[in-house]
């Protein structure tokens, strides 16, 4: 889970890292109040969860209330890389002398925590690494060990952090490490870490991504989850605990297993069809099958649903029963293509065949392989067969 800048800054502040004065604004009135409070010179920052926000025009400086309001007006409601701006973080403008970089992330190859410090900041870390390799230092930390002071010192010297700011940067690095560890962060970054003309050190930007699998031990973070940044269908899925991702297309997918979900979407795409989503019902119950159909039926783009199951733990007869229940309960008229294989394959197929015979429903199609299923689903997605309004 990626936190908004202002949320990350609140946490950084709690750990003793200085951040510029600022508040969140949801309307022009609020912008006006905050700018007055901060004395006129501000930076307006769109709170959208995308990378490269600054380059996309999401960060604007203003030197007066009028200018701030003018820019805020343009910023509210603007779409930045697919995200609508609803909140602006209004922050005091600092007199910056120098910009640095500090960050922590994980290294899955070496099973390490990576500490990264740069005596240049304000641009992407990847760019710093390419353009100024001598100004950046990376240290692999043992996750089972403490971060000793000497390790931080070594890295700061290697990154050529100037003597004048050495102690301040040292202290920020130690605090940021505490944030990283305490919050189960995947990434925790200050870029830029700014030294002001009056010699203070501030986290001017803040990034904090927290491991979703660790959220159970961070209830405070869970409450911050910003559902407004999600697609409406993804929001419903999240609340229903379904592993769902929306893709732009018209073939709904229900698959057993994460890999199978991806492979099914890929296969449809490969055959020139348009997958509408990823959805994994791995190890599921009939209730999950029903919830999944209910969700996909809310996607107005979906013209056909392809159920692709190779039962391991999941038994095909359970899935078949789940599908039949869902069709009956939700009165589904959309075409449904079904592929069942693996555990209790024959029982599952028999249930579906019997149901088709009994009800003479021609919108249910049983196929033998996932390739055949994908082709059939594409065929049905492109004509008006069984189209519902």
């Amino acid at each position: 889970m990626r936190l908004q800048e202002y949320q990350a800054k609140q946490i950084f502040r709690q750990f003793g890292i200085k951040v510029p004065k600022g508040r969140i604004a949801r309307s022009l009135d609020e912008v006006k109040n905050i700018v007055e409070e901060l004395g006129g010179k501000v930076v307006l920052k769109a709170q959208v969860l995308v990378g490269g926000r600054g380059k996309a025009g999401g960060v604007i400086k203003a030197y007066s209330i009028e200018e701030a309001l003018d820019n805020a007006k343009k910023l509210f409601g603007r779409i930045i890389k697919g995200h609508i701006v609803k909140k602006i973080y209004v922050e005091e403008m600092l007199d910056i002398e120098k910009e640095l970089y500090v960050g922590f992330t994980y290294d899955s190859t070496n099973y390490c925590i990576d500490m990264i410090v740069g005596s240049i900041g304000g641009i992407d870390i990847e760019e710093i690494a390419v353009k100024h390799p001598d100004k950046i230092a990376v240290k692999h930390l043992d996750p089972n060990n403490d971060l000793w002071d000497y390790i931080v010192r070594e890295v700061l010297y290697e990154a050529q952090i100037p003597k004048e700011y050495f102690n301040e940067v040292f202290s920020v690095v130690k605090k940021l490490y505490q944030v990283f560890k305490s919050y189960d962060a995947e990434l925790c970054e200050i870029n830029p870490l700014a030294i002001t003309k009056d010699g203070n050190i501030y986290a001017v930007d803040a990034r904090l991504n927290i491991d979703d699998d660790a959220l159970y031990r961070h209830k405070d973070i869970m409450e911050l989850k910003d559902f407004t940044q999600m697609n409406i269908l993804e929001r419903i899925a999240e609340q229903e605990h379904l592993k769902y991702v929306k893709i732009e297309g018209n073939i709904g997918i229900i698959a057993a297993g994460a890999g199978m979900g991806m492979a099914t979407a890929d296969l449809i795409y490969l055959y020139n069809g348009q997958p509408a989503n990823f959805l994994d019902i791995g190890g599921s119950t009939p209730e999950v099958v029903e919830k999944s159909f209910r969700l996909l039926l809310q996607d107005k783009d979906v013209k056909v649903i392809f159920v692709n199951v190779l039962g391991g733990l999941t038994r095909c007869d359970w899935i078949a029963n789940g599908i039949i229940n869902a069709i009956e309960k939700l009165n589904i008229t959309l075409p449904i293509v079904i592929r069942l294989a693996g555990t209790n394959e024959n029982e599952g197929k028999t249930l579906i065949k019997e149901y088709i015979t009994k009800t003479s429903k021609n919108n249910i199609i049983l196929v033998e392989t996932m390739e055949e299923g994908a082709k059939k689903a594409i065929e049905l997605s492109s004509d008006n067969y069984g189209h519902h309004c």
Partner: protein
């Protein structure tokens, strides 16, 4: 021959009295796996399917000379279970548990590496050497004995490719799920190295997916391999920054896309297929040569 585990391994089940643990213990016993003990704190002294249950892994190891464990505990207890097994001297750990926090995974994988322990997973379906041993949760009936090694990050795609191969009467020497998480113990490279040494494996199927750089890192070794590698990468349609079910299946840094993996694998001489059916067809051709 089989890689990672064979008939001789003495296996314990951590979390044996839980619903999943008990269910799969029965399946593994039926398959012939030598399960010597179970561990559930507080249930020591009881029995399940005639297998003694102990309170701690240390006690189980002492009494039964176990060398291998399979872990079925909830995600909040997963890392602790792995550490307990390492501390007790277990040499092969199969961690089925899905959803262990990233920071804990870094710690357990590092600890396993430092102690020369093979940690398969976390979030793995386990290992099967058809006809010999099952230390995992895969449906054994879709696997048959043979000469193809399978490495997969995804459980469901491992089943799919095994199903396709078995349908063509092509058997498998060992199938190993390396796990769908961002941080895993037993790497794809390690699995490839083991299959290269295994006399029974004539060719290797590698099922990868978006996220991480496991597949890219395997390329250097694939170049040196004498055995053909047939690969498939899932997730070409995955939008960036979205978690596709597996914790590891997310494109975050650009290099983790399906395209980059396919390109790297092709460059190092692997045969990369667009569908799993094509993988099975390619393997069939290779074995007929």
């Amino acid at each position: 021959m089989a890689i990672i585990v064979d008939e001789k391994n003495r296996v314990i089940v951590q979390g044996i009295t839980g619903r999943e643990g008990a269910f799969h213990t029965k399946k593994m016993l039926d398959y012939g796996t030598k399960i010597v003990a179970g561990v559930t704190p507080g249930k020591g002294g009881t029995e399940i399917y005639g297998i003694p249950v102990f309170n701690t892994v240390k006690e189980a190891v002492k009494r039964t000379r176990a060398d291998t464990t399979i872990i079925f505990v909830p995600p909040t207890a997963g890392a602790d279970a792995v550490m307990e097994a390492i501390d007790a001297g277990i040499k092969t750990i199969v961690c089925i548990t899905d959803g262990i926090p990233l920071h804990d995974e870094l710690k357990i994988c590092r600890a396993a590496k430092n102690s020369n322990v093979n940690l398969i997973g976390p979030n793995t379906p386990g290992v099967i050497s058809p006809g010999k041993v099952l230390v995992g949760i895969m449906p054994p009936h879709i696997f048959i004995e043979g000469n193809v090694g399978i490495i997969s990050r995804s459980g469901s795609l491992m089943y799919q490719i095994a199903y396709e191969l078995t349908k063509r009467k092509i058997g498998q020497s060992t199938a190993v799920g390396v796990g769908g998480d961002r941080v895993i113990g037993f790497s794809i490279v390690k699995a490839l190295q083991e299959f290269e040494k295994d006399h029974h494996a004539e060719c290797v199927v590698l099922i990868g997916e978006i996220g991480g750089s496991e597949e890219n890192r395997a390329c250097e070794f694939i170049k040196e391999m004498s055995k053909p590698v047939v690969a498939y990468i899932a997730g070409i349609t995955a939008p960036p920054e979205k978690r596709m079910g597996h914790a590891g299946a997310i494109v975050e840094r650009g290099v983790e896309t399906a395209e980059s993996k396919i390109k790297d694998l092709r460059l190092c001489g692997a045969i990369v297929c667009q569908t799993l059916m094509e993988v099975a067809e390619k393997v069939e051709k290779i074995l007929k040569r």
